[in-house]
Symmetry: C2
Subunit: 364 residues, 2 copies
């Protein structure tokens, strides 16, 4: 392949010097073994490096003839501009780190898809990292990722270590916090209020006449957002004079199987429970399967409500009531806000509440 290319180039530069060195694996002094650089292209095209740079990045600034010649050489040599060098020279890396707590929840994956559907097309590269829900890991990741001198950064949640915040401020780049809401965003913020969701679910279940209402979740000590939903729920129950102590947690990662276990444990401790709000639909689906297995009628004997409206919720039977959150759209919106800022535009609405909706189905 390399050989073929060099021959083709040769035809366009048919002088004795070129022919002479070709046998050494060189062409006009350009080694064919080393990665080809802008200088190589410039030499062979017989122009300055700046013209090559322009022909590639701002084609309209170069005359048609020259641009054509240069791009032909680029093609022949298989030249791929070095973004690392370009980034250093221009001070803009086009890198956008995304720190997610996990990839194990379809919510974060859907969000990531939203980002992927916009950022790469605009020339930005996603640097992926997962924090495992641990603030100290997140802090380290932020430090590492800022080393890439990113043009912007995406964080999950609104709780970050003091040092993390200070590093981000020093970086002077657009930052967007997603999935949750705060009154004091580092910079920009799109998400929804988990506390409000907890309240709404509480009100919904109370209105349906349930009295003994529980919450069950995974990764209890780490998932701050789930904790906020629990708080909202408990607050509402308290106000209504209902018991609010029915909480079943696990430290394991979320799964359908864990949903079964959580329900079993909960029913053993509190057989009187009438309705359970789960931290996500996988757990809720597991609980539903367990209930069906045990012959517990849903929702007559036990109501189940999930979270995030993952596909499974609508597909099981009875179908699961759930809370829809616009995760894919959140990804696109986050990307859009970042892009505008990275282009130098102003973004006036720095905090966006994307809201949520309870989708009532057969399970409650």
């Amino acid at each position: 392949m390399t050989k073929t290319s060099s021959r083709q180039v040769l035809k366009k530069n048919q002088d004795s010097a070129a022919t002479a060195v070709q046998s050494q694996g060189e062409l006009l002094g350009v080694s064919l073994n080393k990665r080809v650089s802008i200088t190589d292209v410039a030499k062979i095209a017989g122009v300055g490096t700046m013209t090559v740079s322009r022909a590639i990045n701002r084609p309209e600034m170069v005359s048609d003839a020259l641009r054509k010649r240069i791009l032909a050489v680029v093609d022949e040599l298989g030249y791929i501009p070095n973004r690392v060098a370009g980034g250093l020279a221009s001070g803009t890396s086009r890198a956008v780190p995304v720190i997610l707590p996990t990839l194990n929840h379809s919510v974060y994956v859907a969000f990531l898809e939203g980002l992927c559907s916009l950022l790469p097309d605009q020339g930005y590269q996603i640097l992926l990292a997962t924090s495992e829900y641990k603030p100290e890991v997140e802090e380290k990741l932020i430090a590492t990722l800022l080393g890439w001198r990113p043009d912007g950064i995406v964080l999950s949640g609104v709780n970050h270590s003091k040092r993390a915040k200070s590093m981000l401020k020093q970086a002077h780049i657009p930052v967007i916090e997603i999935m949750d809401l705060t009154d004091h965003p580092i910079d920009m913020n799109v998400g929804f209020s988990h506390r409000a969701i907890g309240c709404a679910v509480g009100e919904y279940l109370i209105a349906k006449g349930y009295k003994q209402i529980a919450h069950a979740g995974s990764f209890a000590q780490h998932d701050v957002r789930a904790a906020h939903r629990v708080e909202g729920l408990q607050e509402t129950l308290k106000k209504a004079g209902l018991p609010f102590g029915y909480v079943q947690n696990s430290n394991q990662p979320s799964s359908i199987g864990l949903g079964r276990e959580l329900l079993s444990a909960l029913l053993q401790r509190h057989p009187e429970v009438q309705a359970v709000f789960f931290a996500n639909d996988d757990l809720a689906a597991g609980a539903l399967f367990e209930a069906v297995l045990r012959g517990i009628r849903v929702p007559q004997e036990l109501a189940i409500i999930g979270f995030n409206d993952q596909e499974i919720a609508s597909q099981v039977s009875p179908a699961l009531t759930s809370v829809v959150t616009p995760r894919f759209e959140m990804g696109r919106l986050a990307a859009d806000m970042l892009l505008r800022r990275m282009r130098g535009e102003r973004v006036d609405v720095k905090k966006m509440d994307l809201g949520f909706q309870i989708i009532e189905r057969a399970s409650s």
Copy 2:
């Protein structure tokens, strides 16, 4: 924060010059507004930049006293080394692009988690990109990603455009192709034979006594690997003298709901079908739900077998027979092989067949 830091540093450099400029937002000629560079650290610590570099990257090469002093300054200033500059200077970016067809399949996500569990800890940064199963998108992504001068790269599948292959060869970096097997890997290859899986499933179903055996899948025109499983299945059916034309495809992305639709369509066209091999467990679960809904007894009237052994397979009832593939382990292994190569070690076994296993459950 910045102010506090500068004061603390000041104590260690208590000379009149420093005090004089501090009010201008400078300290020893170091602006506090610009991002802090290695030169800033060097100046304030009173050492050369190389010593700072060493104190950070090869601490053992610097005397204790000096290292301590330097790291203190690093801390005070909040200095974060610029990897872009470092990468350019050292010729190693520590970037590892990963091109996946989609994030919509839990297989790829699990694989990605496997990578994430190893690469970042070793100082490598994952650059994520999705090709939407399109070779031409993949080719473009490869070109873009090679611009980051990565130290290695991960590709999905073994079918890549000619230009893609040639670019990868020119890059002279370790390449690993995952998920599938080929006799002619670009460089390294871990995966399993989808054709063999198709054959094995065929033999399994034949042995169970099924005669009318179908395959149903999504993204038909793009998912080459699913197509190979179909080929294997059909080959086996053909050999056994059984009908092999029962194939139901859709161009939509995979989902539980699509599984329902696929089964409906298949049964309408071929009510005689006795067993269906689905392209993944989401589809299979959907089909199962649909069958239950229609009162079709599984497996007595219809056997269902899924692929990838996602969690849902074992949790529905009847539980789904499926084919386990070690996707998380594949991620770790791919990371491990890449890491060894990136460290300059040799990797002798360039092609690894990770195999698969049919997990028999109640649905077949």
